[in-house]
Assembly symmetry: C2
Homo-oligomer: 114 residues x 2
């Protein structure tokens, strides 16, 4: 059994509010939402950080973004807008070392982005 909490969510071993699931990608609600809509989109395959991406992962990473964008649009946030964020390592506050895309929507998001 994996010790990675996001691998365990992807495997259905830990409950989460699942928003999307397919062969490669799972999306679920962030437990500490920072906006009215705050989803996490992850690859099912374990990748620790953005530093570990190879060219063979490009399509998968693009899919994470497109799944996130689609979820926001399906909930009516396409026109108002939304922000997507990847955090890598300590300066960005990455807390789970399994690549995950934050998708935030439903309020005006300020600048700078943290």
């Amino acid at each position: 059994m994996s010790t990675c909490i996001f691998c365990r969510i992807a495997a259905g071993e830990i409950p989460a509010t699942i928003l999307h699931q397919d062969d490669e990608v799972v999306a679920f609600s962030d437990l500490t939402p920072q906006a009215p809509f705050h989803a996490l989109v992850i690859p099912k395959r374990h990748v620790s950080t953005l530093n570990d991406l190879a060219s063979a992962d490009d399509a998968l990473v693009g899919r994470l973004v497109r799944v996130g964008a689609t979820l926001a649009q399906e909930r009516g946030y396409g026109v108002r807008g939304y922000r997507t964020v990847f955090n890598c390592n300590a300066d960005a506050g990455q807390s789970v070392f399994h690549v995950h895309l934050h998708v935030l929507a439903g309020r005006s998001l300020t600048w700078p982005p943290g």
Copy 2:
């Protein structure tokens, strides 16, 4: 001649501090940096917002992220970390309607991300 400022930067018609350039992708320094390192990574092809992405764009979008991650790592920010951000439409403060990835590094980035 395009009226899109990022298309014009990609075409070399408007000067910018170019950090990376290849057949599909251009990266350059943000003119109003929000961190010691703040790059924008764009596709040369015009895509207005994340709402306009199709599955055929997945590899390109993943490449934007990987180019941004590589630029941050090349400058020594891989271990400390960095954040990548896509803004879509008004709630996220998107100001140029040509998809662009922000890559921020060199300081501790707070949460929420805006």
